[in-house]
Symmetry: C2
């Protein structure tokens, strides 16, 4: 029996290998054929996808319904269920998103620099496609369309690995994409979906350096950590965000509360919201109580150090775990510091190199904060919520990079 | 006995872990302290190292002598022995190289862009240090000094892992660096050397994502492949080079032979030399024999396809293995192709995405070659030998990148 089982297991594993490796290979081959597509041809392909989604709407919604039924049986949260659910309006929104990508300039072939050397050599730097991308993402089916549209516009082929919970929806969406690609004489292999949604199929992607030029994980911290720690294919590390605001001794009180409330409460679930607040002792002595009350009034739960708990007894005493946590919720850690040095050291210890802000009127401290805080984006007198591809004017956003080797900060289309 | 041996093995492994992990941690900590160093302070540290090398010259040479003696016992090649050998002149050259790094502008803090959004937000993009680097390199002891100087100038701390064959030399050089750093109040941990030169100690570096921001392998294809295929720390993939020249149907004969001879014979051991030559059928019919003879006269051994062997009987029939090989020697593979498409497909199949050149007077084919060949640098009517940080004007060169996610092509100081 044991033997029979082993054989069975091996077969399954081989089939798995086959699907992931075979599709990666096809996507790599397709990436070559995309190099010669013109901007017009790529935009036609995108428009065909947008149209096909409307044509196939009934089928897509019926397949999505299967995912929803399965999800309901597993007792998932209402917000997760909402993210999974498609309807006519959301399919229209996918089409609108594609239209935005169509309207963006084509980055491929962009000449970034050109200079002539004394020996007569003319050197130009041009933007080129990456080649074959691997996209690993969770739940939301609209990512399937986003990823396909951004990849095609940039002449990249893409291998998609969505989550098990959206498997029927994703298959239906990719079937629509294939219909559209056929109509405009693009190879279907420019966008392939891995149908195996087991954990093993994700890991299979990690070492396909021969076929994949890049992996983009989009999802929670666990997914990103898994990919970053195990993959040898280069990874775009998009960011978990334990972001801070540091209020310096000399800060304009009038701007402090609005900035903190914006950064904490506008959309607490996203990565560019703050999780922790550092207050200089002098500022805290004068305005601490008012800030704590403003946060409490906005329904923000407070984990504070001893000084905070003393002034504001409703606060819970903070531990190192709290300072390290990305709450993604209406919760905040607050610490009183003696110096800007202490604030910077705390941020460099607990931060995730995402977005960090100083509120200060002291130019020396601002410059020190800018130079010594290790983060993708460092702010002065502004909310960390501005870390966003659209806010920065970089076009459609792929993610916010917290990796230093490649582009750092909001990664958009045009940047 | 088995048990005793196992215990012994574990202890060794732990000690190993300890050295690599401990030093990586110290280097990461040191990287923070480098952030606040001014350009002047960094240049003083570099000058102190340059001076200390001269002060310690006798000791360095006596330690180098130990490496040379060990090398002679292992029967290494004369060229390897030459690369390992230090003398007064070469120590002077190390100092001169440091002086060049001193004279370069400080890239840290460079403002690359600045723009103001409609909402009043001013966004600046500034160049920042990477943090803690891991440098894995072979044989030549001068890399120890190059890597330390470039790292310090760019406010990066560096963990060095040199080869066993240069271990005495590298230790002596790093001892000098430490003396110098102490004199200028820099932490010694800004430049640390892993003394364990076993293969395991290299691999230990591959997964230290917590401490190392980047790995730079400098050496042969085997070393680079090992690091690229196994490391999860981001890697600067510097290049193995299977470079090609494609001579199109319409090419100016007068420039063909000089370019080919330059690309093949000027320095056959380096990565930007060509390994393979593709000749369009029409060009081959007219000039093939003359080109083959010019190469043979320059002592280049020829592996050719059937057409080549027919015209030039001294050629050896080429196999796919020859087309895939980086000879790094006075050897060349030559193939006759029917179309530019065939040349491009051959290059994309066998090339290493390093440097590829087309010699042609046909603008359409040149543009197609530029768009469809997947390589860091693509040339028109020029030798691949120009792929070099100094030639491009990028300052001291770290390597030539064949990876697409980060900077591609010659990676210098200023680029």
């Amino acid at each position: 029996m044991g033997n029979v089982k082993d054989v069975h297991h091996t077969n399954e594993l081989e089939q798995l290998n086959n699907e992931v490796i075979q599709k990666a290979k096809l996507v790599k081959e397709a990436s070559v054929s995309l190099q010669s597509k013109t901007t017009q041809q790529k935009n036609q392909a995108l428009q065909a996808i947008s149209e096909q989604l409307l044509i196939d709407q009934a089928y897509i919604l019926s397949e999505n319904e299967k995912d929803i039924q399965e999800a309901k049986e597993t007792n998932i949260s209402a917000s997760m269920l909402d993210r999974l659910t498609l309807n006519a309006e959301r399919i229209q929104a996918m089409g609108d998103q594609i239209e935005i990508v169509v309207s963006l300039p084509d980055p491929v072939g962009d000449q970034l620099e050109q200079f002539k050397k004394e020996n007569g050599l003319v050197i130009s730097k041009r933007r080129v496609p990456l080649g074959a991308l691997g996209m690993i993402y969770e739940a939301r089916p609209n990512v399937t369309i986003d990823a396909a549209a951004l990849s095609l516009k940039t002449s990249n082929a893409v291998l998609l690995r969505g989550s098990a919970s959206a498997k029927f929806s994703n298959r239906a969406l990719v079937a629509s994409i294939h219909q559209a690609l056929q109509r405009v004489y693009f190879t279907e292999n420019a966008v392939l979906l891995i149908e195996d949604t087991s954990r093993e199929s994700v890991k299979e992607l990690f070492h396909l350096t021969e076929y994949l030029d890049l992996l983009i994980p989009r999802g929670g911290k666990n997914l990103i950590d898994l990919v970053v720690n195990e993959a040898t294919v280069p990874v775009i590390q998009t960011g978990a965000g334990n972001c801070h605001i540091y209020v310096d001794a000399r800060a304009q009180y009038e701007m402090v509360v609005p900035i903190i409330l914006n950064a904490k409460t506008q959309r607490p679930s996203v990565c560019n919201s703050i999780e922790n607040l550092l207050l200089h002792q002098d500022f805290f002595n004068e305005y601490g109580k008012e800030i704590l009350e403003a946060l409490a009034e906005a329904n923000v739960g407070i984990y504070g150090d001893e000084k905070v708990c003393e002034v504001f007894p409703k606060a819970i005493l903070a531990t190192e775990e709290h300072y390290a946590e990305e709450f993604s919720d209406l919760l905040i850690g607050i610490k009183v510091v003696d110096t800007a040095d202490e604030a910077i050291a705390h941020i460099n210890q607990f931060g995730t190199q995402h977005s960090e802000s100083i509120i200060s009127e002291d130019a020396t401290n601002v410059e020190q904060f800018f130079n010594e805080v290790d983060a993708a984006v460092v702010y002065h007198n502004a909310s960390t919520r501005f870390t966003d591809g659209f806010e920065f004017g970089f076009g459609a956003e792929i993610g916010i990079s917290t990796q230093k080797l490649h582009v750092r900060g909001p990664m958009g289309f045009l940047h």
